[in-house]
């Protein structure tokens, strides 16, 4: 398959993730959609890496996965802390981050 097909899939996945971040209000689902956007970027990185026959893109993808894991870790910790404080789990109502 031509590399362009992979890039098209990557663009579609990135856009779906962006739409999810904009439309959903549950912070859990917003985190999932952020994962989608990162995965779209990963697919583009690996496709370009394959195009040049150079491994740097794969290293980039692995680092992106690490950053995504950290983001999930902190995000889920924040959601659990929000739940413990009996605040609504809703991105519209959690506008401010004060204690």
């Amino acid at each position: 398959m031509s590399i362009a097909w992979y890039l098209a899939v990557s663009a579609i996945v990135f856009t779906l993730g962006a739409v999810g971040v904009l439309t959903r209000r549950n912070p859990l689902v917003i985190l999932l959609c952020l994962e989608l956007m990162l995965n779209g970027a990963n697919l583009a990185l690996i496709a370009f890496s394959r195009m040049w026959g150079n491994g740097d893109g794969q290293i980039f993808a692995i680092v992106v996965m690490t950053v995504a894991a950290c983001e999930v870790c902190i995000g889920l910790g924040m959601i659990v802390a929000i739940y413990r404080r009996r605040l609504p789990i809703d991105a519209d109502e959690l506008r401010e981050l004060h204690g």
């Binding site: 098209a8 899939v9 209000r25 959609c33 990963n42 740097d56 794969q58």
Partner: protein
Amino acid sequence: MSAVIFFLAAIGVIAGAIGVVMLRDPFYSVLALVSHLVSLAVLFLLLRAEFVAAVQVVVYAGAVMVLYVFVVAYVGEEAATIGDRLRGASSAVARTRTLAIAIGGCLLAELLVALLGTGLKAIGGYGAPYHSGPKTYGTPAYIGELLLTRFLIAFEIASFLLLVAAVGAVVLARRRGGIGEEPEPHITPLHVFRPLGTGTMAEGVEGRMPAAQAGAGLAAEHEPASKREPEAVR
């Protein structure tokens, strides 16, 4: 053959992504993301990124998603009811949603124009030639050599970032005195530096004056004025 596998995996990827965005229940969203990740690993395999595909399935679809499932099971019930309550609240929500979908459509059009319109001439190929071998492109040995030689600093920074994230998650999510008990005491620097029993308004409101000093204070008030005078003079 590879075209058939590509289209099957691409359909899986896009269907999983649509499922994540559209499904109401966060639990089903997580499951859709797992199927999305597995299909994406197939695409990585087609791109000869064997190690990244394995990491994707084992670490991402395995470990990170289990974390998600735990948190959804812990939080999910109330989140669903709050979402339902808000969904019927106002039409402004629906208007915002259509606006967001329109913005997303613009983003997709822009990306596709950028990729397919102008980029196609540059990227129209099938990639660099691939020769199979023990340490060729995409194998764990190749990735490991790159990580530990050329990208050593990035590797170390990533490991440090993971450490910081783990500590941060523990600090954020630790249990502060349990659920449903009294809130944690509100301690300000004044509580440390101010001597007790000085009659501030905080003591009157919160009852912070210790019992012995409170009793002494009351006794001093009920004493005749003549007995207190020498102390006042002194």
